[in-house]
């Protein structure tokens, strides 16, 4: 039985709780960004760009065995780290689970608090985009 979104989010919150300061948090985020699997170049197109971020973020979604799989990339590494966290939480779940998922963990890991309004907007846009994909694919499943 694979983990639920809720469980993964708790895992992420626990990981971030181990760091004492912003430096370590950001270092970890940079690491996550670098480790994010590469998106297929053919998906780095304008239609997949998320608006509201200072850096470019591309997200591609694909349905596999009734589960929605996200791949993403960004030209900025910290943004890529944030995307990596979101993908870890939301990718590979049934669209309905993604639609219902809570996003409070963003606050809990101190991400939102540490992101300026413009960046936080980017974060909000990213979550919104993931959920929109889920809504779109949900209708396909019915």
């Amino acid at each position: 039985m694979s983990k639920t979104i809720q469980e993964i989010q708790e895992e992420i919150v626990d990981e971030f709780a181990m760091f004492d300061d912003w430096m370590q948090r950001y270092e970890y985020m940079i690491e996550l960004g670098k480790a994010l699997p590469l998106i297929d170049e053919k998906y780095k197109i304008d239609e997949n760009l998320i608006k509201g971020c200072q850096s470019k973020v591309w997200v591609h979604a694909e349905l596999k065995d009734e589960k929605l799989v996200f791949t993403a990339d960004s030209d900025a590494i910290i943004t890529k780290g944030i995307v990596a966290i979101l993908i870890r939480a939301f990718s590979n779940h049934h669209p309905s689970a993604i639609i219902e998922a809570d996003t409070k963990f963003i606050d809990d890991i101190g991400l939102k608090e540490h992101l300026s309004p413009t960046r936080a907007n980017g974060l909000v846009s990213m979550i919104k985009q993931l959920k929109m994909y889920a809504v779109a694919y949900q209708t396909q499943l019915k």
Binding site: W22, M23, I77, T79, S116
Partner: protein, 412 residues
């Protein structure tokens, strides 16, 4: 440029005491504010003027017979005269209060709708703030006039020869900034104004970025229009001025209808008020105008020569130090520039650098700085921009350099 010609009259430690915000901490570090090109910080003297206005003589102007209204009107008109003197305008009514640079540009551009004909040409520079290109595009759509762009070179300077080639009898308006906000380049505006006048074209100079560093003399420049925002020169946001030559201001139609801008009103015909009120419809930002005057006083007490000399020192110092960082690429390397440094580090996104230095208490700007055409020219998504003011110090630059180095090592 001379380095370390320490100006004795200029005591930065004393000056910093005027700016309470410089004492605050950001993310656990003392604030280093290097985003002065976006907006400048406010000295106590300007805050005092604001408090004084609301504490002692808040009233609507130009209308009441009562004493408060008189006092407010006197102070407001006094500020206009200060600004007139500062920019050396011939007449006080050539200074129109606006809500800022953007407003001033729109006021002139919309006025030109009644002057331009199909086929007329407007020249704008490639160094513009892109939101300020929009009013001219709208004007061209409305009138059938044609917008042409004066190109720039690799150093971030306008190519004067191209300007000469583009300029013709068809050119009715030339629009460019005195100083570029993205790169800090100081444009040779006097030369451009004179040349444009030879062909009968009017010139509007966007002085938003120049005003905090250079005291422009509109008569010596012989410029037709000059616009600035108070908030870039120690004043409050939401107020600025448009300087226009009297003959031009008389030629342009009013921008907005409303109170203050009329002489007599009936349903058959309204006659417009005299300058400057013709362009100042509605209750203005009274307090803002007065505080703008206080900001001009403040900066003049320090002196623009001293400010420029000190800021040049900061610029030279920071440029030298930044270049020691491997992979550093500076954009805008004109010899004529204000204290703005736009840069990238090879392989790194400006956003990442900006995010990390912010964590270390340092405010810089990242992104395209509303100058997308410049970023397209260099084929980059944006830059990190540090812009200095006379209240910044070399110690702050040292901290900034350390922060950039640290960000670089974290990201590489």
């Amino acid at each position: 440029m001379s380095i370390a010609t320490n100006n004795i009259a200029f005591n930065v430690d004393e000056i910093r005491k005027d700016f309470p915000i410089l004492n605050r901490e950001v993310n656990g570090y003392p604030l280093v504010y290097f985003d002065n090109a976006a907006t400048s910080q406010t000295p106590k003297q300007v805050m005092d003027a604001i408090v004084d206005y609301y504490s002692n003589y808040n009233a609507n102007i130009h209308r009441g017979v009562h004493s408060l209204s008189q006092e407010a009107t006197d102070k407001y008109e006094g500020a206009r005269r200060k600004i007139q003197q500062h920019f050396n305008a011939e007449k006080a009514h050539e200074i129109i209060f606006t809500s800022g640079t953007t407003h001033g540009i729109n006021l002139v551009a919309s006025g030109f709708a009644s002057i331009l004909k199909k086929g007329d040409e407007i020249l704008v520079s490639a160094l513009e703030h892109h939101s300020n290109i929009v009013p001219w595009q709208m004007l061209c759509e409305k009138t059938g006039a044609i917008l042409k762009v004066i190109p720039m070179n690799e150093q971030g300077e306008l190519i004067y020869e191209s300007f000469e080639e583009l300029l013709s009898e068809k050119t009715k308006m030339v629009f460019l900034n005195h100083v570029s906000n993205a790169l800090g380049t100081i444009n040779p505006i006097k030369k451009i104004i004179d040349k444009a006048h030879e062909k009968g074209a009017a010139v509007l100079i966007d002085g938003a970025q120049a005003a905090p560093h250079i005291k422009a003399d509109v008569q010596a420049l012989d410029v037709d229009f000059y616009v600035v925002s108070a908030h870039k020169m120690c004043g409050p946001t939401g107020v600025g001025i448009l300087y226009g030559k009297e003959e031009w201001l008389n030629k342009l139609p009013p921008y907005q209808g409303g109170g203050e801008m009329i002489a007599t009103v009936s349903f058959e015909k309204t006659s417009y008020a005299e300058l400057p009120h013709k362009f100042e419809a509605g209750t203005p930002n009274i307090c803002g105008g007065i505080a703008f005057g206080a900001a001009i006083d403040y900066m003049n007490r320090i002196g623009f020569e001293a400010i420029a000399r000190y800021e040049d020192e900061l610029l030279d110092y920071a440029t030298l130090k930044l270049q020691e960082i491997e992979g550093m690429k500076l954009y805008g390397t004109s010899r004529e520039k204000t204290a703005v440094i736009s840069f990238n580090i090879e392989g790194l996104h400006p956003y990442d650098i900006g995010t990390l230095v912010d964590k270390m208490g340092i405010a810089v700007r990242t992104g395209h700085h509303c100058a997308q055409p410049i970023m397209d020219f260099y084929k980059i998504p944006g830059t990190v921009r540090a812009s200095f003011s006379f209240y910044n110090t070399k110690e702050e630059i040292d901290r900034f350099i350390e922060a950039v180095k640290k960000a670089k090592s974290m990201l590489s």
